[in-house]
């Protein structure tokens, strides 16, 4: 089946090309020869930071912009009027030169022949928050035990061929890989040891498909596959006393050496069919069917030495050697169908159904676990563990109906109903007190309503409301009895002045006796855009948001199994604005100054202030060159975690060259 799919995919473009050869004959010979032309801009220069105060790890986690010479942006378009190989190639790159968010996108197109796109990103993931995963914080230690410093690179490439109007084959390739270092925790029953780890993972995905386009329907068939690997290694070779600050049964627990490797390999084959159709002018149909079969195989090896205690064997031991093999399979079947039916010009009926099913027959196939007094002494405990099966079965279904009525040219009303249901069975978490398996169900009915108002294109208003009641749910914090409301309005006060307002509300309540879960979130926002004379000399855009979040829920204190309350509060204000000033033309360009930035301030469970003001200037210095200057200030302050605050100035200067 797999071979057949590949053969079909490879042959289809050739067959389609033959069929369409007379229609797609290149017109290069008849087109007048013309020079290729290159247009665009290139921004380059240097950035430096000054006066970095506070926590540099948090600065790197939140901002992470570096110093030095940079290519800030390049936006180039190459056109070929002769259309020999391409009509146009667009290349856009951002933040090159050791920056944390580097991107490159290339689009090449020749109309009626092909489209090629590739997207590359290189993102730095640095995360070291002192208050996160840090049991020694009370002793003044600011090193988190869960940190990472990764580079994640992604490339996504796609080629669409247009041999004729009816058949379009396409091919795609994407790679997502990340590597770097970090700190994580090795847990040995009664003590935890923060150790260095190395991470390296990669996923390659290949896909190819054919789009058939007929008068009344479109069908896309896609066959794809991915190859995955994830390699992690923890190592340590010094005496390490871990987080347990006291002795246990009169002995100090410590670790002198650790070599743990975690190797996961896997693959996935998936087949997909997507169809859209308009069999009659009153009816649109959409459907999708997918089958995928991801699988992973894991090899885990661990050698650790020191002085440990095994709760299972109830003995002290000096060395542990463990080899474990496991596998995970996840056949996944998914289907979706939707229809829009227009029985009358002003009446539309929407219907959609979706089903999703995972079945993961997982298990550990081999587990050798040997405990010794030292690596050179005989085994004192452990052995081969029996194979373990850890199944996971999950179904999710959703059915939704909506009716829309254009009651007047300025008013549309909507009403509907959604029913979501599903169930799951899986192995309970380790040390579970509720048995080896756990299962859950969910059933939820939601009523839907909405309206849209349009008055002479100047005033637009809309509101959506959803109210639901669930009789069963997976989690205590899931949506249970809830109401959602969102409303928005846009008003064009003047030709140059637009204002808008948004409001949203989510109320969720789980009224069962022990839960008492109450969640309420409200968001208000105002926007303004002022562009006199189309923004020729001055423009102003700004928005202000105010949100409140309130959550109350009971939880159990594990030691006494007594009830306590988890309270989370947040009142947040966010404002962002940009004032753009343009001046009379100099050197065939307008000098420009932008002032603005954003401010965030919150109170409640984690009061935080985060300010990012910015000022930019673009001054023409040559007919095709502008001098750029930018100042930014980053300031993070936290009332309860003051050691996580930082502030710094960033300056950037450079040239913008026009081609």
């Amino acid at each position: 089946m797999r071979r057949l799919s590949i053969v079909v995919l490879l042959c289809a473009p050739l067959a389609a090309q033959d069929a369409s050869a007379p229609q797609t004959k290149p017109d290069a010979g008849t087109a007048p020869a013309a020079a290729q032309n290159l247009t665009g801009t290139v921004d380059f220069g240097a950035r430096w930071s000054s006066d970095l105060r506070g926590n540099s790890d948090v600065y790197r986690t939140v901002v992470n912009l570096g110093e030095g010479v940079k290519l800030f942006n390049a936006d180039l378009t190459l056109r070929d009027p002769s259309r020999r190989i391409f009509d146009k190639i667009t290349a856009r790159g951002d933040s090159w030169g050791g920056e944390p968010y580097t991107t490159l996108r290339v689009d090449a197109v020749r109309e009626d022949t092909y489209r090629f796109t590739t997207d590359y990103r290189n993102i730095a993931y640095f995360n070291a928050i002192p208050s996160f995963a840090n049991p020694a914080l009370g002793r003044g230690v600011l090193d988190s035990q869960r940190t990472f410093n990764l580079r994640r690179r992604m490339i996504d490439t796609r080629l669409d061929l247009f041999p004729n109007r009816r058949i379009s084959p396409y091919f795609g390739f994407s790679r997502d890989w990340g590597a770097g270092n970090g700190v994580t925790v090795f847990t040995a029953d009664l003590n935890e040891y923060a150790v260095a780890n190395y991470l390296d993972d990669k996923t390659d995905t290949y896909r190819g498909g054919i789009r058939f386009e007929e008068k009344y329907f479109q069908l896309t068939l896609e066959q794809g596959g991915s190859v995955f690997r994830d390699y992690q290694r923890l190592s340590h070779n010094n005496q390490h006393f871990g987080n347990l600050g006291t002795t246990f049964l009169g002995q100090r627990l410590w670790m002198s050496g650790l070599d743990q490797s975690y190797s996961v390999t896997g693959d996935n084959l998936f087949s997909k069919a997507v169809v859209t159709s308009r069999p009659i002018s009153e009816l649109d149909l959409y459907g999708q069917v997918l089958y995928s079969r991801p699988r992973q195989d894991t090899t885990y090896r661990q050698i650790s030495t020191g002085n440990f205690f095994s709760l299972e064997e109830f003995l002290f031991f000096g060395a542990q050697q463990r080899v474990l093999l496991s596998q995970a399979r996840m056949p996944h079947t998914s289907g979706s169908f939707a229809a829009e039916y227009r029985p009358l010009r002003r009446l539309r009926v929407f219907e959609s159904v979706m089903t999703d099913r995972f079945h993961i027959p997982n298990g550990v196939t081999k587990d050798e676990n040997f405990l010794r007094l030292s690596m050179t002494t005989p085994i004192i405990a452990g052995g081969d563990e029996p194979p373990v099966v850890a199944p996971f079965l999950f179904t999710y279904n959703r059915q939704e109906s909506n009716v829309m009525l254009d009651a007047a040219s300025w008013l549309t009303l909507r009403g509907g109903h959604r029913y979501v249901w599903g169930d799951m069975t899986g192995r309970a978490p380790g040390l579970s007190q509720t048995g080896l398996l756990e299962s859950g169900e969910m059933r939820m009915h939601a009523g839907l309503a909405g309206l849209t108002l349009r008055f002479a294109q100047k005033l637009n208003m809309g509101a959506d409301f959803e109210a639901a009641s669930a009789d069963r749910n997976y989690f205590r914090t899931s949506l249970q009895d809830y109401q959602k409301l969102s409303a928005r309005a846009r008003y064009q006060v003047l030709a140059s002045l637009n204002v808008g307002a948004n409001f949203s509300l989510l109320n969720n309540l789980n009224p069962s006796v022990q839960n008492r879960y109450e969640f309420r979130n409200r968001d208000y926002s105002l926007t303004l855009a002022w562009t006199p004379q189309g923004g020729k000399w001055i423009s102003l855009a700004g928005d202000y948001s105010y949100s409140t979040l309130r959550s109350n829920i009971n939880y159990l204190i594990p030691q006494q199994l007594t009830l306590a309350q988890s309270l989370y509060r947040e009142t947040a204000r966010t404002a962002s604005a940009f004032l753009d000033l343009r001046f009379p033309e100099v050197m065939k360009a307008n000098p420009r100054i932008s002032l603005g930035g954003s401010l965030f301030s919150s109170t409640g469970s984690r009061p935080t202030q985060y300010y990012q003001p910015v000022a930019k200037a673009y001054i023409p210095v040559l007919p095709r060159a502008q001098w750029m200057f930018e100042w930014r200030w980053y300031n993070l302050g936290e009332r309860y975690y003051q050691y996580e605050g930082f502030r710094t100035h960033h300056f950037m200067t450079g040239l913008r060259l026009g081609l």
Partner: protein
């Protein structure tokens, strides 16, 4: 005579409670539909005919010139589409009356039409695109956001009549979703303000099978796994919320004041709010929700137990350890 017949007739049986209200609502809806259907009957106007794009150019030179660099210009040049030299009228309808009167009322303007009408016109050519397969489930279709709200049809730039620079995409989405954009101004967020990502990296604005129009990747996996592929599993020991409720069970992907974009300021609360179930005497008496309470060795007074992910490092799922510790 008639009156006496009615008076002597037995009283009608009343339906179930609420039936009258349903009947009234049904009649009201039917009346509204019929009234709407009648009100839309046009008053036999003079029939307009096609005049060709060159006639439009005479008055709308700027739009015409920009349009020539636009992907829709192919409609004007291509015989096979059936609108050669008449691309303007393929969307705006026959323009002879408008050309004579110059009155904007005499020409169809999709930007002024109700979303459903504008969309129907666009979809008459663009329905057959795989990206639209989740349109019905998408919020934009439900909320009457038409194609022309985001796609500047006349604009010269861009072969696909859509924005491709991340900053411009984000700005466009933020113009209608300012409260979402406000969340990205928080310290812990995805890197949208920096231009490393755009809204459409995670959402498909045309709609998706997943809630919130979340984009699907590869084998219909949530768009989050495009970048976080190492967290997608399958795992030998799954952590059920990841599979059942997705990333948003614990994270606020748009931005948060809490590290790692968590929903709570301390990790233990994220976990303990679900891990609540006590041992049940019988399976029938088991708690209706998932998540057993942690064993008593978890002494919350000790800082070692205040952040569950210190030990449970493989919180998204493990291939080795049932307790997600390695």
């Amino acid at each position: 005579m008639l009156n006496s017949q009615f008076l002597s007739a037995p009283p009608l049986k009343r339906g179930p409670r609420g039936g009258g209200l349903s009947l009234f609502l049904f009649c009201a809806l039917a009346g509204a539909v019929l009234a709407a259907a009648q009100s839309q009957q046009p008053a036999a106007p003079k029939k307009a005919t096609l005049v060709g794009s060159s006639t439009c150019q005479a008055c709308h030179e700027e739009i015409y010139t920009a349009f020539q660099k636009n992907a829709h210009a192919a409609v004007d040049k291509d015989k096979r589409r059936g609108w050669e030299g008449k691309a303007c009228e393929s969307c705006h309808g026959p323009g002879s009356i408008h050309a004579e009167s110059g009155d904007k009322k005499d020409i169809v303007n999709p930007a002024r039409q109700a979303a459903a009408q504008a969309d129907k016109m666009c979809l008459s050519c663009h329905l057959n695109q795989a990206t639209h397969a989740g349109r019905i489930q998408g919020g934009h279709a439900r909320s009457q956001v038409s194609c022309v709200s985001c796609h500047p049809v006349h604009k010269a730039e861009g072969s696909q009549m859509l924005l491709t620079k991340t900053g411009e995409i984000n700005q466009q989405c933020a113009s209608c979703h300012p409260q979402v954009w406000a969340q990205f101004q928080r310290p812990y967020k995805h890197r949208l303000p920096e231009g490393a990502m755009s809204c459409v990296d995670c959402h498909n604005p045309h709609g998706s099978f997943l809630p919130k129009s979340v984009r699907t990747v590869a084998a219909n996996e949530p768009g989050c796994l495009k970048c976080h592929g190492n967290l997608g599993g399958p795992f030998t020991y799954e952590h059920s919320p990841v599979r059942l409720e997705g990333c948003t069970a614990c994270h606020v992907p748009h931005g948060s004041a809490n590290p790692r974009m968590l929903t709570r300021h301390e990790v233990r609360f994220v976990c303990l709010e679900c891990h609540f179930n006590r041992p049940a005497a019988t399976p029938e008496a088991a708690a209706p929700t998932l998540g057993g309470v942690p064993p008593a060795l978890h002494d919350l007074r000790n800082p070692r137990y205040n952040n569950c992910t210190i030990c449970h490092v493989k919180i998204h799922g493990s291939n080795v350890d049932r307790a997600l510790m390695r």
